[in-house]
């Protein structure tokens, strides 16, 4: 896909963000040019240290040759190099059907010519990145820690974010930069060694060029400084990769999935994780969906590689009515308080607004059913204390104490009004407050799993294993159905009423 965009010469406005694609191409050229200059300078200095003045051209020429070889290797071997370095292994269909399904779904949404090859990285730190494998092929790597904590919708959000990077042509630049950096760090090291030992060799063969003139001493500190500086400068260029690319990949992800809450919730979980990444090296760090834990020391060298996750989450959470590019831009300006100039006018002109979709029923209780850790424990305690869990559309689960005074509750995050299930207000009814007396349908729970109740109006309602309330309220007609907990012996359970 990436290749196709380039070869066609046409604008892919609707799927990829053309302004970003163009910008990425410009930065790729800038990166290559800077590396050439840097390498050439380094080569010239090393040459001078070794052979004196004629060595300058020799060194520069050798460095240019090396530069070409580096580019060639980065383009041809870059992806497999990164994969080998990280130790990622390809996913097998029988082990991870869901992951492969989600990847296939997102490839379809993006109309990629073929889905990215998917790899798993054995690492408890939840993260994901995509790399460009050349000739229209891309690879997607997710850590095993990510698969552990995310549910389907969240995984879809993460995969869509990475596919967004692919569509926006980010992965090509990032892979190129990553592999070139790996190479240049290596080369700087070799040069440093050559300077340290080269002078000794030079003296031993007592070349007249080496030991004549004051400038023969100059290359030593210069080459030292350069060698030390090169990785830093290179990394700095690398970090100069726009942080906005993350916002734009988020925007693309939201357009692909039509479900901002999935990615937002995934980012929350990833950000909450404190597991340090095993693979925390500077070569792959900017590729990850969020900055790997333990990588902040990189900040001393070139700053953060990612925008703050909190901002990204708040933006995503505020997209509830429309998930188009324009809405994302509006939300960005509101949250970051900066003009979103990186959204190009010609991209926005054609952007359509789409309504977000409903969450999968698997995720009726976000952050509760699958969320482990402290929050899960707290929620468990609340459940024991008969709190009710009200899922809001924004993704937040509002915990309502057993006795609620109001029929309507404002969501603390988005302010949307939520209807408190009558179960909680029944307590009041029993203590004297009059309730409307309609004959109520009774549903006996069968077990502790997912169950469905058909309302008297015919509407189908889902009970999650986490549901502890005593009443469910139909969203269509508003009628309530009593839910009785499962009896200890399932054989004696009253069969559920069916419409």
């Amino acid at each position: 896909m990436v290749g196709r965009v380039e070869r066609g010469g046409g604008r892919t406005k609707v799927r990829g963000l053309w302004s970003l694609i163009r910008e990425n191409r410009r930065r790729s050229i800038l990166l290559l040019f800077t590396l050439w200059v840097g390498l050439g300078l380094l080569g010239a200095l090393t040459g001078m240290a070794w052979f004196g003045r004629p060595g300058v051209w020799l060194g520069a020429g050798a460095a240019s040759l090396l530069w070409l070889v580096l580019i060639f290797l980065a383009r041809r071997q870059g992806a497999s190099m990164i994969l080998r370095m990280s130790g990622a292994r390809p996913v097998e269909a029988e082990h991870q059907p869901q992951l492969l399904n989600v990847v296939a779904e997102m490839a379809l949404a993006a109309a990629l010519s073929e889905p990215p090859q998917t790899y798993i990285l054995e690492d408890d730190a939840p993260n994901a990145f995509a790399i460009d494998a050349g000739s229209e092929k891309t690879c997607l790597v997710v850590t095993s820690g990510l698969l552990e904590i995310l549910d389907r919708d969240e995984l879809q959000g993460v995969v869509a974010h990475e596919v967004g990077h692919i569509l926006n042509d980010d992965v090509r630049l990032m892979t190129l930069a990553g592999t070139l950096l790996g190479g240049i760090v290596l080369v700087a090291d070799v040069f440093l060694q050559s300077v340290l030992h080269g002078r000794r060799i030079g003296r031993r063969i007592s070349s007249p060029l080496v030991s004549r003139g004051w400038w023969t001493l100059l290359p030593v500190p210069l080459a030292l400084i350069c060698s030390l500086l090169t990785p830093i400068v290179a990394r700095f260029i690398y970090v100069l990769l726009r942080k906005e690319r993350e916002y734009l990949a988020d925007a693309t992800a939201v357009r692909l999935t039509r479900y901002p809450a999935g990615l937002a919730s995934a980012l929350e979980k990833i950000a909450a994780s404190t597991v340090p990444a095993v693979l925390a090296n500077s070569v792959v760090a900017p590729m990850f969906i969020v900055q790997p834990v333990g990588m902040s020391s990189l900040g001393n060298l070139g700053g953060d590689t990612h925008p703050p996750v909190r901002d990204r989450i708040v933006i995503l959470r505020s997209l509830d009515r429309s998930v188009g590019l324009r809405s994302y831009r509006k939300a960005f300006q509101k949250v970051v308080r900066k003009a979103a100039t990186f959204f190009a006018a010609d991209d926005l002109a054609q952007a359509e607004d789409y309504a977000p979709r409903e969450p999968s029923t698997e995720n009726a209780f976000p952050g509760y059913a699958s969320g482990g850790g402290r929050r899960g424990l707290r929620d468990l305690l609340r459940a024991v204390n008969a709190h009710a869990f009200l899922p809001c559309v924004c993704g937040l689960t509002v915990k309502v104490p057993p006795v609620a005074r109001h029929a309507i509750l404002a969501c603390p995050r988005c302010g949307r009004e939520l209807a408190v299930p009558q179960a909680l207000r029944v307590e009041e009814a029993e203590t004297g407050v009059p309730e409307q007396a309609a004959p109520r349908q009774v549903y006996h729970r069968i077990g502790a799993g997912w169950e469905s109740v058909v309302c008297t109006c015919g509407n189908l309602m889902q009970l999650s294993p986490a549901f502890r309330g005593r009443l469910v309220q139909c969203k269509k007609c508003g009628a309530a159905t009593s839910v009785l907990p499962a009896t200890p012996d399932p054989n004696e359970a009253v069969p559920p009423e069916r419409a």
């Binding site: 059907p97 399904n101 296939a104 379809l108 109309a111 799993g449 469905s452």
Partner: protein, 185 residues
């Protein structure tokens, strides 16, 4: 002499621009075709899934014959449909029937606990998702292509070489085709 050069340059420039625009149109058209064939692939995936699903559900819900028959009929009708619009219409009927089958599944909790069914669960979810996303991807491609075909100056090239607007894959009533979301757990 100079005038001739200018004219020649302009003509060359025009031809080159035309070639670039023509190539862009061809690329978009093939992408759209590819996206359309993806919908077909996903539809076939769903057709293949149905007999399996019916087979598993049958074991538990013997008296839901009517639903099974309806799904099977709608399936064969949808398989025979040709063209974007006809396909969309027959798919709608098939989706409705399939939705009823899912509802049947919903009514048999023992079925949801079935070993064979739990393997199918993810497949059903993904198949429905893939279809929806393939449709979305196709519509995005069509939008892109149609904009190119209609807008100046590429519309000149488009009309010259017979590039015509594509139909969106639209469903008459989204609510009808919305497959009931079931937990399938």
């Amino acid at each position: 002499m100079i005038g001739g050069c200018v004219v020649l340059g302009l003509v060359l420039f025009g031809i080159l621009t035309g070639i670039v625009m023509f190539n862009a149109l061809v690329r978009l058209r093939s992408e759209t075709d590819n996206a359309w064939s993806q919908i077909d692939v996903q539809l076939r995936r769903r057709y293949d899934l149905v007999p399996n699903l019916v087979e598993v559900v049958k074991g538990y819900a013997t008296h839901e014959r009517e639903t099974f028959d309806r799904v099977t009929q709608a399936r064969s009708a949808a398989m025979q449909a040709r063209g974007v619009r006809q396909k969309a219409a027959s798919e709608q009927a098939f989706s409705t029937a399939l939705g009823q089958l899912y509802l049947v599944v919903e009514n048999y909790p023992e079925l949801k606990a079935d070993e064979g069914f739990s393997a199918l669960r993810e497949e059903v979810t993904s198949t429905e998702n893939r279809l929806a996303f393939a449709r979305q991807g196709y519509n995005d491609c069509v939008l892109e292509f149609n904009v190119k075909v209609q807008s100046f100056p590429s519309n000149l090239i488009a009309s010259m070489f017979g590039f015509i607007n594509r139909d969106f894959f639209q469903l008459e009533n989204e609510a009808v085709t919305e497959v009931p979301r079931i937990s399938m757990r």
